[in-house]
Subunit: 153 residues, 2 copies
DNA sequence: CCAACATTGGTGACACGTCAACTATTTCGC
DNA sequence: GCGAAATAGTTGACGTGTCACCAATGTTGG
């Protein structure tokens, strides 16, 4: 291996600040979600994806694609959510292998309650802190980093 | 609750791009660490903290403070790392309740091997993509968001 | 001194994510 | 058609993180 390009002091500072921010921001969102609703972030994402579809139901593989989750993760997650009555499995007549995930009334109620508080939290923790310019910069930087990121999806 | 301040389209775009980036960047780092070493990110963080101390050993509570981890998380983590010979527990003579976590030779070797590749990955995935200005912006934005973040530490 | 209280750390149950292996169905080449 | 390969989803084992509770030791006020 060639000589290591160690981080400069400035780079270390950038990197550690970013890491800390992203960890704490995420932790804060998890805490808020848990405090204000019966949902986890993962539950929330699944329910959002389901309400975004006209029928309120999607095939597993499609849902996994939307969320960019592994299929087995989705399988476990849906099994847990089903136990709590947030979603249902439905047989798929077109394809004997497949199945639908459908949102239930209880699931719909849960997300309708959770969404406003979650959005408000994002506003408070992120956008209230940043100028319009900074928000644009954050997007540009995120997009730049995303570009080269090989994602095995 | 007052009327919800929903996200504007631009805000949604910023937010989703940031979320995706931070998730994928993290996933890429985990993959690289797993591919190039026998360590997880958590292992790595613990070993870094240990090598940062002159003695190569720290009390549990202090280590938890350094990492801003919960004590029980650290306890589980150290137990697993101990099984793999990366760290040792040592009795604390000054305080019968306490204990030290100490890095082993095996642990030292592991981190010395893992660090260069990890740093190189951070360079490639982050700093090679960003101009100096963008790096500064990222730091400023992260710091800004961190400011108001109540952290229960 | 000794009874409350605080502190240090550990433990068990559970939620979550990944990986590898599996079953059942469909599709495709011949 | 039919057997091989692809596809849909499941399962079990394991690493990991959190929470609530526990044990042991130390500290402190009367």
């Amino acid at each position: 291996m060639a000589k290591t390009r160690w981080l400069t002091d400035e780079q270390q500072c950038v990197w550690r600040t970013y890491l800390l921010m992203s960890k704490r921001l995420n932790a804060a969102l998890v805490r808020q979600m848990q405090a204000d609703s019966e949902l986890s972030i993962a539950d929330f994402e699944v329910l959002v994806a389901l309400t975004d579809t006209p029928e309120g139901r999607v095939r597993y593989a499609e849902l996994a694609r939307i969320l960019t989750w592994e299929k087995s993760r989705l399988s476990h997650q849906v099994a847990r959510m089903q136990k709590r009555g947030l979603v249902e499995r439905r047989a798929c007549t077109e394809d004997g292998r497949g199945a639908y995930v459908a949102i239930t009334e209880r699931g719909r109620k849960a997300i309708e309650q959770a969404a406003p508080k979650h959005v408000e939290t994002v506003q408070q923790l992120v956008f209230d802190k940043l100028s319009d310019d900074e928000a644009k910069q954050l997007q540009a930087i995120s997009a730049r980093i995303l570009e080269g990121l090989d994602c095995p999806d």
